[in-house]
């Protein structure tokens, strides 16, 4: 195993162990998402949603819940000296980017495993769309993880990080959200999922993921410099 992959495993393992022990991010993300679904349910006064409305409610909720996790992603590194510890080690610093993005991806997948069934119970007639929706969720999560990690690593150095993260992140993920809602909309149609332009939207999601993973890999080293 290379030093970089050892470092990747060490950082990811440390993050997941810390989250399991402290539950600082995931419960807040899940609680936010479930509460938002409750508000939509009563605010819209509907027992079922379909098409673009269902897709919009799902993705707006997931995006804002994700921001809670993005905000906290590098807090331990900033406040407990983790940045210095990792910069002092003889490892490629992109291991930190990859590990943090992987940790955020795990948080998002766990969040969705909890809240998407709640969304389905609240708003969907059937669960037929869920298997295809899972593919959209994974691809969108990859993009969110790459972009969120990049922005979080920059914003964490600012005292206004809670404000800065959404301000910078939200415009950057607009294309991702357009593709994610575009792919989800036909899946959530009343009467069962359809696959109109589904492949095109998946390709857009994949392209976004690839671009931001490459951007993260290319610039992360510079972001860690003083």
């Amino acid at each position: 195993m290379t030093p970089t992959s050892l470092a990747f495993r060490a950082i990811l393992g440390k993050d997941l162990r810390t989250e399991l022990r402290t539950l600082q991010s995931l419960p807040a993300m899940a609680l936010f998402a479930v509460t938002t679904f409750v508000i939509f349910r009563f605010g819209l006064d509907r027992t079922a949603l379909s098409g673009s409305l269902a897709s919009g409610v799902l993705w707006a909720t997931l995006l804002f819940a994700a921001i809670l996790g993005v905000n906290r992603l590098f807090v331990a590194e900033r406040e407990e000296g983790g940045f210095d510890a990792i910069r002092l080690a003889p490892v490629d610093r992109t291991a930190l980017f990859a590990a943090k993005a992987a940790a955020l991806l795990v948080y998002l997948l766990v969040l969705e495993a909890i809240v998407v069934p709640v969304f389905a119970i609240f708003f969907l007639d059937s669960a037929a769309a869920l298997p295809s929706l899972a593919l959209v969720l994974v691809l969108a999560d990859l993009g969110l993880a790459a972009t969120g990690t990049l922005i979080s690593s920059m914003a964490v150095h600012s005292r206004a990080r809670d404000l800065l993260t959404p301000l910078v992140l939200l415009p950057l993920v607009v294309p991702l959200m357009i593709a994610a809602t575009g792919a989800s909309e036909p899946l959530l149609e009343m009467g069962g999922p359809s696959y109109e332009r589904f492949g095109t939207w998946l390709a857009v999601l994949g392209l976004y993921d690839l671009i931001f993973l490459l951007v993260g890999y290319a610039v992360f080293d510079f972001l860690l410099e003083d």
Partner: protein, 216 residues
Amino acid sequence: MSESAVAVTGLRREFGERSALEGVGFELSAGQSLVVLGPNGSGKTTLLRILATLLRPTGGQVRVLGAPLPAEAWKVRGRIGFLGHEPLLYRDLSGRENLRFQARLHGLGTEAAEWRIAELLTAVGMKRRADQRVAELSAGMRQRLAIARCVLHEPELLLLDEPDSNLDAEGREAARRLIGPGEGRTRVIVTHDPERFETEADQVLRLGVGERAVVS
């Protein structure tokens, strides 16, 4: 003649308009100790962070363990032990977990790491508290763990910022064993207590606020 372990010439570091270091120079052979003295704000910690590759110099030449900084910083990372103001330990992990994490970052194999961690925990007197979360430990205990972290990967160069801070007599004795002159490592020590280190110093660097550095 062997190459210097640390060679610094005309080092400058500015933070915006403010100059933190101006024209600092010294040369340190392998195994020697340099004690850095100076009032608050004289740039002692900045100097240490530059030598540790954590900060880029604004000007001047810096060579550490034969590598020019910052151009070849990657060559010396892993050969430096850095003990700063912060212990660089995660509060929600135990001392042992923190040391395991550091061992993996430095590429130590599992068996070698466990053996080294057990040895160091004993040396710093933290064996019994090793599995307690760092957040629950006193400042002195954290400093002991930080010393263990600093020497875990057996570095050639030690950069120590107030290494005795928060330590009791027993802790200071453990520190002397692990990061003292007996180990034969090159050391740069920042301190406000020159008497504590005067017998160990091969050179003394005096930094002043707005004055040129003096080596003796």
